[in-house]
């Protein structure tokens, strides 16, 4: 009897290891704080059009003209972000070529601790097609439960009054665009 109990406990312990990749699981962004953050509007006409923004110098994520926003928090300096950039581009292409998803979600990058110049370097170097916005003074850090590990991805949906509801957070690189694409699809489309 005791052996059986030990075996069961051992298996439970082993299974528990599967679902505890450190602090990544506990990382949270404050939805209200994220809704209130003001970002400098992108300069380009195409970027403004993609995000559905007016000509105002600043914007909030809730003002973006789609049902949901996929936010990539990155840094030009982060080697993991650099390595993941082609996968991120692939994900963007998948979203844009999906008839169900393309109208529902807009992809945006926030370069935390990056100046406009540094964000532009990243944009050009990796031919990122969606808008990248600088967050020079690490503002997004202030609404995070832990130190932000870049890249971190957050999928947020708009509610009444341009408030955001966070549907999904992924700490660390995407690695597999298809898998990530499917997970956003499930959250936004098949309901």
């Amino acid at each position: 009897m005791r052996t059986r109990l030990l075996i069961v406990l051992a298996i439970i312990f082993q299974l528990a290891m599967f679902v505890s990749p450190g602090e990544a699981q506990d990382f949270k962004l404050d939805a209200k704080g994220l809704s209130q953050m003001r970002f400098p509007s992108p300069e380009g006409v195409a970027a403004k059009k993609y995000l559905g923004l007016s000509d105002a110098p600043e914007f909030t994520l809730g003002q973006i003209g789609s049902e949901a926003v996929l936010v990539m928090i990155f840094s030009m300096y982060c080697p993991v972000c650099q390595k993941d950039a082609p996968v991120v581009n692939q994900l963007y292409q998948m979203i844009e070529s999906d008839p169900n998803l393309r109208s529902k979600v807009r992809f945006i990058g926030i370069g935390t601790g990056n100046t406009p110049y540094e964000v532009e370097v990243f944009q050009k170097k990796f031919s990122i097609k969606f808008p990248l916005i600088p967050d020079d003074d690490f503002s997004i850090q202030k609404i995070s439960s832990h130190d932000i590990r870049t890249p971190t991805f957050a999928l947020a949906r708009k509610k009444a009054g341009n408030q955001l509801e966070i549907l999904k957070i992924k700490v660390g690189e995407i690695r597999e665009a298809r898998e990530f694409f499917d997970s956003i699809s499930r959250l936004l489309v098949s309901r």
């Binding site: 052996t3 059986r4 075996i7 069961v8 051992a10 298996i11 082993q14 299974l15 290891m17 599967f18 990749p21 450190g22 990544a24 840094s75 030009m76 300096y77 982060c78 080697p79 993991v80 650099q82 390595k83 601790g113 100046t115 110049y117 540094e118 370097v121 990243f122 170097k125 590990r149 700490v171 660390g172 690189e173």
Partner: protein
């Protein structure tokens, strides 16, 4: 019933090694992006008195490079401008990002006929492990480990705890120092400032 339990126990026992292996693999995977970076907290912004200034001839040095060779400042004389990027230590937050940033802007250096030598007081094995996770670096990474911090000391940028300042020094093709910046150790120097200084170099 007993037979069933016996079977269950047997099959569980058989599965256990597999589960252990899988669990370890998953953990190793998680470990991969779990930060290896050590956070020393906020430090005194600068902690040394520079011994070099703009207009001086840059003190020469010959240091071991992570590729196994030596890198000497004198070798670039008459050939290329050189940016010396001293960083305090491997595996610390700001340093772990500064060089990867430079790594994606090789063309900005080349456009100004400049190369980069990254220098820290860490030894070669540490620098090897640390820079390995940054991807392939196009620039020299040199170890100022022994005599400890000798080059940093010659430039007057060795801090009292034995690490170098986060300092950027630009040496032109004639060996003359054109720019000295001892940056706050806690923050990353802005890329655009470096590019601005590179553009000022005599053509």
């Amino acid at each position: 019933m007993t037979e069933f339990l016996h079977y269950l126990r047997k099959s569980m026992l058989r599965l256990t090694p597999l589960v252990i292996v899988l669990a370890l693999a998953v953990n190793a995977f998680a470990e991969d992006f779990k930060s290896s970076v050590y956070n020393p907290g906020s430090l005194k912004p600068t902690d040394s008195s520079p011994l070099v200034k703009v207009g001086d001839i840059a003190p020469d040095f010959s240091l071991q490079d992570i590729t196994g060779g030596k890198v000497s400042l004198a070798n670039f004389r008459g050939k290329q401008n050189v940016v010396l990027s001293f960083v305090p230590a491997a595996w610390t937050p700001v340093c772990s990002q500064q060089w990867p940033g430079y790594n994606i802007v090789k063309e900005l250096f080349e456009a100004n006929d400049a190369t980069l030598i990254g220098i820290s007081v860490d030894n070669i094995p540490t620098l090897h492990a640390w820079t390995h996770q940054m991807g392939d670096l196009w620039f020299h990474v040199a170890s100022d480990f022994w005599p400890h911090g000798e080059v940093a000391r010659k430039y007057g940028i060795l801090r009292s705890d034995g690490v170098a300042e986060r300092a950027t020094i630009i040496v032109d093709k004639t060996g003359v120092i054109r720019y000295v910046e001892v940056h706050d150790i806690n923050t990353i120097p802005r890329l655009e400032n470096l590019v601005k200084e590179l553009k000022k170099l005599p053509k």
